[in-house]
Amino acid sequence: MSEERIMDLKRRVYSAAKDEGARVGMERTMEAFEESTLHIDEYVMEMARYVRDLKAELRNRMLDLAMEAAEAMERNGMDVVIAHTRKEALDAVIDVVGTGKVIVKSKSMISEEIGLREYLEGMGNEVWETDLGEFLLQLSRGRPSHFVVVSMHVPREGALEVLRRKLGYRGPPDVPRMVAAVRDFLREKMLSAQVGITGANAVAAREGALVQVENESNVKLTGSLPPINVVVTSIDKVVPTLLDAIKIAIVESYMLGGTPPTFIDVVSGPSGTRDIEHRLVRPAQGAKEVHVVLLDNGRSSAAGSLLGETLRCIKCGACQLACPVLTTVGPSWGSGAYMGGIGVLWTAITKGFEEAGPLSYLCAGCGICEEYCPMDIKISDLVWEIKRMASAKLEEELGVADS
């Protein structure tokens, strides 16, 4: 690994640490998170342990389970592609989308992982993020700082500035008015879009169903208003049953906000009706076609590796909101999609050790992430392993012998 890459990272995090606004945003978010997650009901913790054990057990048959899910989803009338690489995933999406379309899109880390928005734009499409945080990042050309609270580094003052500059917002600096303006803007886009791209929090193999958890209702609308719905998700999210998938949705919601989800959406096929003479007609009110991309991109080969337990991660982001380093430097400690300590691990899985190595040096090894992780992933220890690999070559060059 070149020293230049570490120096680049150092420049990025130093300049990020100087951003007062970002710091204020993250400090406020962190404080709210700490309060809301002080006491999590034992019944939720029990569910978390169930999910942890289940996902640990599934790790080595991830691909088989993905195939099972794909078959079930096909039976339900959805088109499914299992994409082994980033390129295969992008190809699968562009096959459906083509060019010259208006596309609305909800937040998804998998789409960040493959750089989907930028790719679709490059292919001549107009793409709009419908999650408020992600929309703010799109307008300000920012990167996410968290799996869920993607714009935690954008305080209300920053949001106001972006909306004024990019959306021509002329209203007062109060948050509800700002949110309403975004709602009006995006509603129009949702109604005119030909394609809606969504993600999934979990996938049920038996039922062939996608489960999405959200608060804004933008996922629902993005997935059902445009005639075509493309769902981009990954093979590590497949679990045996719909009940398992819903448990994951519940756990995710509680871990981050301390509250149950506002919405859990289940998608197991295109919209349709049999109300007239019991003959299936598609669509009814929702999307006519549902296309699903299940991405591997390093996951199945990581299953048996040192990093295998990372695949238990449900991306709730509790570890990230607790992290003193990430909440100081924000998105600069990341590889685009994946940030913080857990992000180092996901980066290693999806982009390789070369990319993850420099990032590992930003972990202070304090272990708070492990304290918060509902899946009991030894995040700190695993990041140290990546650091060790990154340092091994350096030690060799400096003549420290392997004893």
């Binding site: 120096m7 700490e34 003193p324 040096y361 304290e371 350096l394 420290v400």
Partner: protein
């Protein structure tokens, strides 16, 4: 800005030359014990092993101001071209005087607490090797193992049966990391694990606790820390993040990302300052990193500055 390679080279060369990564002459690191009659327990099977970490704090602080100037510079050094210049510029750094006096008191207090509780440990002064903890934090496992082997040899040569440690980093190294990566260690106890409850006293007052990460999350000694502080007459205040959910001071990032570690320290100081003007920590890395002036009105003391042997 300092690059990883130059830093690693600096630490390794110093270690080879002096036994510790900052290159401080070993006699300076045992000066604290000059006022003690330590020779009397030299045959003891129990040893006080400081791991040199507390003693290095004043030097870390001394280096800090030099390093921060280096961090400001636009050029960065690749080891081949500028490494040796850095080496010579750094060679002249000196200890932070005030902190040196504080550390002397901390170590003296530790020794006296042990003595008063009947442990009679041997202390080997400048023969004491460095634990390697810093190399572990940097992922430099081979350098860490070299140090670990020296420590294990030292313990074996002296027939040590019980090792008493004073800080969480050294304790974790010996208790957990040596057995994992190198070999078996004799029994290891942190000072807070020992029965010192009956001999402690203090000035009293209200203090907010900053739990060191490893002390709370890995050693689970946060309860003991509170107990001893209470036994010494202090009233304990809890910050927003405490016990197992404590907020890291940022210290472990000091070597490679010094500016970041100071930003994190200032965030923690601000959290602590909301409860009291006096905070108590129990780790030399926290002590080094939280001793800084960045706004919040709170001074951080080590528990061994607040707790002493009952008169």
């Amino acid at each position: 800005m300092l690059d990883r390679r130059t830093l690693a080279q600096f630490l390794i060369e110093n270690s080879r030359r002096t036994g510790n990564p900052l290159g401080v002459p070993s006699e300076k690191l045992s000066e604290w014990a000059h006022g003690l009659d330590i020779d009397i327990h030299m045959n003891s099977r129990t040893v006080l092993y400081t791991g040199l970490l507390y003693q290095l704090v004043p030097y870390i602080k001394g280096l800090e101001s030099l390093m921060s100037r280096f961090e400001e510079s636009r050029v960065y050094s690749l080891a081949s071209s500028m490494g040796s210049r850095l080496q010579s510029r750094i060679a002249g750094f000196s200890a932070d005087r005030k902190l040196k006096d504080r550390v002397t008191k901390i170590l003296m207090n530790a020794y006296k607490l042990l003595d008063a509780s009947g442990y009679e440990p041997a202390y080997y002064g400048r023969l004491e090797p460095y634990s390697g903890a810093l190399f572990y934090d940097l992922g430099m496992l081979e350098a860490f193992k070299e140090h670990a082997n020296k420590v294990l040899e030292f313990l074996e040569e002296n027939g040590v049966e019980l090792v008493i440690t004073l800080d969480p980093h050294t304790t974790i190294a010996l208790k957990v990391l040596y057995p994992r990566f190198v070999g078996k260690t004799p029994e290891v106890r942190h000072l807070l694990e020992l029965a010192i409850d009956d001999v402690v006293s203090g000035r009293g007052g209200r203090v907010v606790v900053h739990d060191p990460c490893l002390l709370a999350r890995s050693l689970h000694l946060h309860g003991r820390l509170r107990r001893i502080l209470r036994a010494a007459g202090y009233e304990i205040l809890e910050p927003r993040r405490s016990r197992e959910r404590t907020f890291c001071c940022g210290g472990p990032l000091e070597s490679l990302f010094p500016k970041l570690s100071s930003e994190i320290a200032c965030r923690r100081l601000s959290q602590l300052s909301k409860l009291s003007e006096t905070a108590v920590a129990a780790c030399p890395i926290c002590l080094a990193n939280l001793t800084r002036d960045c706004g919040p009105k709170v001074s951080v003391l080590d528990w061994l500055e607040l707790v002493e042997v009952k008169a």
